[in-house]
């Protein structure tokens, strides 16, 4: 579906047959224009894969942050990591004569520096209480967002590119960026899934988790690094896309419960599907022009999130 729809419509049946045709044992030939294949393979397919990976990364890291903070409102944006990654990307963009392939690196570094700063700020003695972590995250996040806006204002030429990026542009096309992105996503997602059991133990609170034998400080660092890695990957390759990391784990939790060994893999799957669907909407609602997918997720996600909040008052699903 996702690869079929777009500025040039390829019938879904044809799209499927083109894909299958690439597999050696099918060898199907069809009556479609040859540019269908080009559009499909060089533009749509890598785009769809990147969109799916982004959704997976955002929902997976959202679920992990929620488990870490034992707060259903936690989200990659809450602890400032997404804004920090955005700032890193914008800084790289604003330096002339720098290839756009360095943008991911900038975002990743920006994210890591942000989380390092947040972690240090939040540290009280030997431990990092979650309340100070969230407060520091909000403060540092606001600061990096302000810097990002400032950078955008002083460099006119890049404002459009940067705007589209920050709104969740997913403008990256072709296979090359995907190949660069893939290791970030796969490693990050794998680490998130592995952290499920530790997050379960943490649900009893840090004190009880430690009394049960969990190395709480180590686990917190592990979760923060893996969730930050996936968030930075998502932000650097697809821009800042909101609400996927918040809404998808919520729905999964309401339906399948709060066991993080299941919640994280299911959120990852759900996040991929959700962002693919949002992306189809973004590309079709105002076709042939292309809407940043971040606008779609926010327009749909924000009211949905408010509705969840209303429900949460009456029902215990946490």
């Amino acid at each position: 579906m996702s690869i079929a729809l777009g500025a040039v419509t390829i019938p879904p049946g044809n799209a499927l047959r083109i894909i299958l045709g690439k597999l050696p044992w099918f060898g199907a030939a069809g009556d479609w224009p040859s540019y269908f294949e080009t559009i499909l393979f060089d533009l749509r397919l890598p785009h769809a894969i990147l969109v799916a990976l982004t959704g997976m990364a955002l929902a997976g890291s959202g679920a992990s942050f929620q488990g870490l903070f034992r707060n259903p409102l936690a989200d990659p944006f809450l602890i400032g990591i997404a804004s920090g990654a955005g700032l890193g990307a914008i800084i790289v963009m604003s330096i002339p004569q720098v290839g756009r392939f360095l943008i991911p690196l900038g975002a990743f570094l920006g994210g890591l520096i942000t989380i390092g700063a947040v972690y240090r700020l939040a540290k009280v003695g030997k431990i990092v209480p979650l309340t100070t972590l969230i407060l520091a995250g909000v403060a540092v996040g606001s600061f990096t967002s302000a810097l990002t806006s400032f950078l955008m204002l002083i460099s006119d030429e890049m404002i459009l590119q940067a705007m589209s990026f920050l709104l969740g542009g997913s403008t990256v096309t072709g296979w090359e960026p995907l190949v660069i992105a893939l290791p970030y996503f796969l490693v990050g997602l794998l680490l998130l899934v592995l952290g499920g059991h530790s997050l379960n133990v943490l649900q009893f609170g840090e004190e009880q988790a430690q009394q049960l034998g969990l190395h709480v400080e180590r686990v917190k660092i592990f979760i923060i690094i893996s969730a930050s890695l996936t968030t930075a990957a998502a932000v650097s390759f697809s821009g800042v896309i909101g609400f996927v990391g918040l809404v998808v784990p919520h729905i999964i939790r309401m339906v399948w419960g709060g066991d993080y060994k299941r919640l994280i893999p299911l959120s990852i799957l759900g996040g991929g599907v959700t962002l693919l669907l949002s992306d189809i909407l973004a590309r079709t609602v105002m076709a042939p022009s292309y809407l940043p997918v971040g606008i779609v997720t926010s327009i749909i996600g924000a009211p949905f999130f408010l509705w969840i909040l209303r429900r949460a008052k009456r029902e215990v699903f946490w």
């Binding site: 379960n200 009394q211 049960l212």
Partner: protein, 265 residues
């Protein structure tokens, strides 16, 4: 001369000190707890009961002194090593409602599970055993949020039993429970301790309940030990006056022969 018939104490607290910043929270605490013995920990609010439990369970650092489990110092233990030596039963409140009873009890095996938390047969057997011992096996699939406070407290007891430790710490386990659940829980604890030969330190508020269940009582005030001995030796009008600034009278329960107290004002 070594007496072969007397086992060394399971839990030994030797000249233990702990601080909150510059404030001394615990001062020179000494206690030996034998196998199968329940020591009741009493004292007014802020006396250091919860602090002592935090220090023993590794949540708070020791500033001086040593804690021994089966004659091994545990100050250098990792969290998982410590969790195989001492289990804690916290007060049942703010329990994450998303877990089933069985999942919650299985998490008592955290110190034995790997990073991925995949239970071995031994872990499942211990979990089933702990649930049966505490009578929550019939609730195995219920969510924690759906069961009563008394049942939640028994789940936490089961979780601590699943930890399979020689020493058990309980932090005011009867708080927030109504009388029926309080009585049932204390009976259950007493039975389990004797059956399994656990060494127990239990912080409590209700002095008559302490007298009913504890073999010995430690009275804390301002982070210091004021008295240690049998309930009758510790729960005297003089000790209680010094610690709680409250006048009491004592008497012997006509049916159980337990030492009881009553406010005299």
């Amino acid at each position: 001369m070594v007496n072969q018939n007397i086992d060394p104490p399971v839990l030994q607290i030797c000249s233990l000190y702990a601080n909150y910043g510059d404030v001394i929270a615990l001062k020179d605490i000494n206690l030996d707890v034998q196998r199968g013995e329940i020591v009741g920990l009493i004292g007014p609010n802020g006396a250091g009961k919860t602090t002592l439990i935090k220090v023993l369970s590794g949540v708070m650092n020791v500033s001086a002194g040593e804690v021994l489990i089966n004659q091994k110092g545990i100050s250098t233990y990792s969290p998982s090593q410590r969790a195989r030596a001492i289990a804690v039963v916290p007060q049942a409140r703010q329990l994450g409602g998303a877990f089933s009873v069985e999942q919650a009890v299985l998490l008592g095996r955290t110190a034995y599970l790997g990073f991925l938390g995949k239970p071995a047969k031994e872990d499942l057997l211990k979990t089933a055993w702990a649930m049966e011992k505490t009578g929550v096996d019939t609730l195995a699939d219920r969510k924690l949020a759906e069961i009563s406070g008394g049942e939640q407290q028994r789940v936490l007891l089961a979780r601590a039993l699943a930890q399979d430790t020689p020493a058990l710490l309980l932090d005011e386990p009867t708080n927030h429970l109504d009388l029926r659940y309080q009585v049932n829980l204390l009976k259950l604890i007493k039975k389990l301790v004797k059956e399994e030969g656990l060494s127990v330190l239990m912080a409590m508020h209700d002095l008559n309940q302490v007298s009913g269940i504890a073999d010995r009582v430690m009275l804390l005030a301002n982070g210091q030990m004021m008295a240690l001995g049998s309930p009758k030796e510790v729960l005297t009008p003089e000790n209680i006056r010094n610690a709680y600034q409250t006048e009491i009278e004592t008497f012997t329960h006509p049916k159980t022969n337990k030492h009881m107290i009553f406010p005299a004002e």
